[in-house]
Symmetry: C2
Subunit: 412 residues, 2 copies
């Protein structure tokens, strides 16, 4: 009911803790290889695993992989012993015996699997396990060696950092100015708006049920300048949808628990079940927008994030998720007008704070960050839609239309 890596994001240890996995994400790969899944499916799983391990590794996670090897005769012997024991007999299944009969094919499959996933950042440790005492010892020794090396390398890196005196300056590399391509004065007549709003909202009800019956998950995310109208836009999108099938997830700064994990963890754990819709009000793109501009993460963190994000989105679409990304854009004057209007409105003035004015003062830096984001993360499988939002009504219809079209093309 979720992309297969979702399970492992949920089981991810927080910083300083250890998870020991029996089988792990390689179960999915083994299953596909043994059952001769399509080449495309197998390729997807290889890609997903490789990018998952890379992502964790680059965040400082240590991944230690053991493969315990026994030969056909030994396996047979062990199955027999377990079957003969009183309390554990139920552990040996028909599938286990089939695997033993089919030992040579399994061996070949494991060989391929081990060779293809023996990454530099997370190599396999093969353990000859015929003799259990030998195996236990080898695993312990390997663990100690790898842990010591890691601790060493962390301490060396820390020292190097202290000694490094030059400050890293962001190269002012110009990315195509995507944002300037849009005509922010686009608008729609009130009557036409009501007509289209009704039309698309009604269509969306049907599409939601079709998605549900076909078990297709949908992720819709909103980013945008402050006061661009995300809240009202989301409300029009969900107004007539069945609330049992969608969830709106507001994203703000990570809390103290979330900070103990990879920054993508809190998004992975909120991904929709198959057939459901998650709408993110702000998203993982915070890493390359507010966190980058305000310096809440390091240069290494945000430069790495574009690949991490593209990888994650690929894992979602590999699973069959429909992913739609909207950037709501207004210009600086329009924002000023809206800030002022909020301040003057006794019901809305809690929505405008010092921070909003501070962010506004960095308008150009944000625009650069947005351009870089659009340039680097508009992939074929997960393109951005920039939404001209000076006229809120125009923006709502544009999003609704895009969502309806995307769902229709997937359902066909």
């Amino acid at each position: 009911m979720h992309p297969f890596l979702w399970t492992y994001w949920n089981k991810l240890p927080s910083k300083g803790r250890i998870s020991i996995l029996n089988k792990s994400w390689y179960k999915e790969l083994l299953h596909s290889l043994i059952n001769n899944s399509s080449q495309k499916r197998i390729k997807n799983i290889y890609e997903d695993i490789s990018s998952y391990e890379k992502t964790l590794n680059e965040d400082g996670y240590l991944i230690i992989k053991f493969f315990l090897h026994i030969d056909k005769e030994e396996q047979k012997k062990r199955f027999k012993i377990i079957e003969d024991s009183h309390s554990m007999a139920w552990k040996v299944t028909e599938d286990d015996w089939k695997q033993n009969e089919d030992y040579d094919r399994y061996k070949k499959v494991f060989n391929d699997l081990l060779k293809n996933t023996n990454y530099k950042f997370s190599p396999w440790n093969i353990v000859e396990a015929e003799n259990k005492k030998y195996a236990t010892l080898k695993i312990s020794e390997t663990l100690v060696k790898i842990l010591e090396e890691k601790i060493d390398s962390i301490e060396k890196a820390r020292k190097a950092k202290v000694e490094e005196t030059s400050v890293k300056i962001e190269t002012k590399h110009k990315h195509p100015s995507e944002l300037s391509n849009y005509n922010l004065s686009l608008n729609i007549e009130k009557e036409e708006y009501s007509k289209q709003l009704h039309l698309y909202q009604k269509r969306l009800i049907d599409l939601q049920y079709m998605l549900y019956s076909k078990r297709i998950p949908v992720v819709i995310l909103y980013e945008g300048m402050d006061a661009a109208g995300k809240g009202g836009n989301i409300r029009r999108l969900t107004e007539h949808m069945d609330p049992r099938g969608y969830e709106v997830i507001p994203i703000s700064a990570p809390n103290i628990v979330e900070q103990e994990y990879h920054y993508l963890w809190r998004f992975w754990t909120k991904m929709p079940k198959d057939g459901h819709i998650s709408i993110f009000d702000r998203s993982w793109y915070g890493r390359v927008l507010v966190e980058k501009v305000e310096g809440f993460c390091s240069y290494e963190d945000w430069t790495r994030a574009y690949d991490e994000i593209n990888d994650m989105e690929k894992q979602l679409t590999n699973h069959g998720t429909i992913l739609l990304k909207f950037f709501l854009q207004i210009d600086k004057d329009e924002q000023f007008k809206r800030f002022k209007a909020r301040e003057d409105d006794p019901i809305k003035n809690w929505k405008i704070t010092e921070e909003d004015w501070r962010n506004r003062s960095k308008w150009e830096e944000y625009e650069n960050a947005i351009n870089e984001m659009l340039y680097k993360t508009s992939t074929e499988r997960a393109p951005w839609t920039v939404v001209e939002s000076t006229d809120k009504k125009y923006a709502r219809i544009k999003v609704l239309k895009k969502v309806v079209e995307a769902l229709e093309s997937k359902i066909k």
Copy 2:
């Protein structure tokens, strides 16, 4: 795979948020009533629901329950309309039609259910739903009325609190001094220890697999004075168990996220799946120990907690969970020796902090709190075992033996 309320603890909104549930925990009750489950099972569900709603209500949660009523003909008509629609036809199942044929029986069952769960703190609101516009209006009006009343009552309570000048003094009510009944000098010979340790640990391996195959969940919790030896005791318990089937859950002060929920929330979400074992190193009893003694919660909070805890434990055992509670006891002199030994040990001295010495200075208050806890929460279904722990070996064997006996008596 969990007590049925576990699902709803997981879906509980944090403070200031709203959860809207379609069907909710009453699904379980309805299902049992319709399928003529045993009287015992039905009684258990009624008890679980009543204590769950009471527990939430007393913590300040507002529970609003709506029952939407239509008659047999109207239901039939609506099923037909849905079946005739293109996108939603799949929503009407054979079960739905059976329910319509069996309408009178369902009506009687719903009548009983509504009458028996119409609690003062969470009454039902019956909505005649033949006319959808009328129903929508009635629900909105009811919601507004209940929310306004609640906000009013909160403000009144806050005012009353400010005006109240007298400080609540804890009545020094004496509870039977349970702890003084134990002979802390009990001990075991080294040779006998090794023999029994081996015996019980081996037996535990078998029992764990039997539990797993019978899908019986187990909760084991440890409380005890600082330095009583909980860590080493747990290690001997789990040493030879299959790590795939148990989890040790260390409990410290609630973090900032956990503080946004009922205090039992973080324990509920960690309860074991059927067939698995959760071992809590400290537990929900923190509420009536450290939180009470240090004043981390209010007088109302901890006095209410004994009932809340007994209710929760009843919900667990109603589900078939084996629940074992161990209190590891040492005397004040023994603690002093252990603190000193830790301070002198360069590898262990991080384990001893200012806070440990501070807690120690409140030894008598803690002892009172422990006596009250033992007195009020030693129920037949979840009794406490006080473990004399001056001799660590003796304590380990006592716990192991108790666990083995409890599992054996359940498996028989």
